[in-house]
Symmetry: C2
Subunit: 201 residues, 2 copies
């Protein structure tokens, strides 16, 4: 059965999923690279950008799992062609939450961006159809994840708590009672680069 997952979502010690002043040129925000210090050196990430080598071990296993068994991740942007170039690493249909209707954008390697203007429930329904029983990953930032969390729609949320401070931004859990929503920590793995936890119902 299709599950809605958030995979390898990095947050800072102070709870932010990106640095301040995010922009199209700097989607991770100021200092946001630090959130992914556990991820960038992994073999999984390097192979996705066409490079050899990289670390193996728990960080890499979690990075790899974040790409497994996925039928339809999506993201949310106003005006957007992705940050991955012509051949994004998704290789599946991607449903982009936006306020601006736009024709589907077919990329190389099986990724097609579909732009959804009817909100989070509509995007989820379309992704479910495309997923054909596989899992769906939310690829968006904190704002998107928060909307789906509040609506009680996320089955599994993997977080990488990174030992950095972001200072400001949108805190992932601000005003959301994760325990009250029924989540608990079902899995944890500590590395020197991050504390990985899975929150699920």
């Amino acid at each position: 059965m299709t599950k809605l997952r958030v995979n390898a979502f990095s947050i800072s010690i102070d709870g932010y999923g990106a640095g301040p002043d995010q922009s199209l040129d700097n989607p991770l925000g100021v200092g946001g690279q630090g959130l992914f210090e556990w991820f960038f050196p992994t073999r999984t990430f390097l192979s996705h950008i066409g490079k050899d080598g990289g670390t193996t071990g728990p960080d890499d296993e979690i990075a790899a799992r974040s790409f497994d068994n996925l039928g339809g991740p999506w993201a949310r942007h106003e005006s957007w062609k992705g940050w991955w170039g012509d051949n994004p690493p998704y290789h599946v249909p991607v449903f982009v939450l936006t306020h601006h209707a736009r024709e589907p954008l077919e990329m190389a390697g099986g990724t097609t961006f579909h732009f959804v203007t009817e909100g989070i429930h509509a995007a989820l329904e379309q992704a479910k159809v495309a997923a054909k029983g596989k899992d769906i990953r939310i690829g968006g930032g904190a704002a998107t994840v928060r909307q789906y969390l509040k609506a009680g729609l996320i089955d599994s949320l993997h977080l990488a708590l990174s030992p950095v401070l972001m200072g400001s931004g949108e805190a992932l859990f601000a005003g959301i009672d994760m325990k009250g929503l029924g989540y608990r920590c079902t899995e944890r793995t500590a590395t020197q680069a991050a504390m990985h936890v899975t929150l699920a119902k």
Copy 2:
């Protein structure tokens, strides 16, 4: 020179330093015990409650450091004799932030509770005099730590990020721009029980 430290302060994945519904009977709040799963099994903690055994390793070293070189921790409570019985583990003067003036309370083992009604700066000044050049530890909860953080008075903050959810309460960093205040992560140690980080200027 005296430094103002917060040691071994545990926070949850969602950023809380205690569970909801804290009370005198249940100072850690509902589910708050989970924040200290890294601490309770350590040899340091067990010896402080008069028991033998316990784990050694990074968690224990950090627990031990939290008691080292301290000249005057303090806490904040309205009506209070401590939770440690007649011989608290402080063995130093403790300055308790309160709204109710009260005579000093002398306990066994060198701990004296002094009750300070003039606020955080007055408590810090009195603790500095008592500390005679040693460090001062803030022993209070999130509300106290937040007041001193906002005032820019904390030199070093050790956090144990515990893999549990609390759901609600007072989030330690809500509305505080730690990066803007000049803090950065200066030290980190991951164990299977917690991610320990030190934030300092």
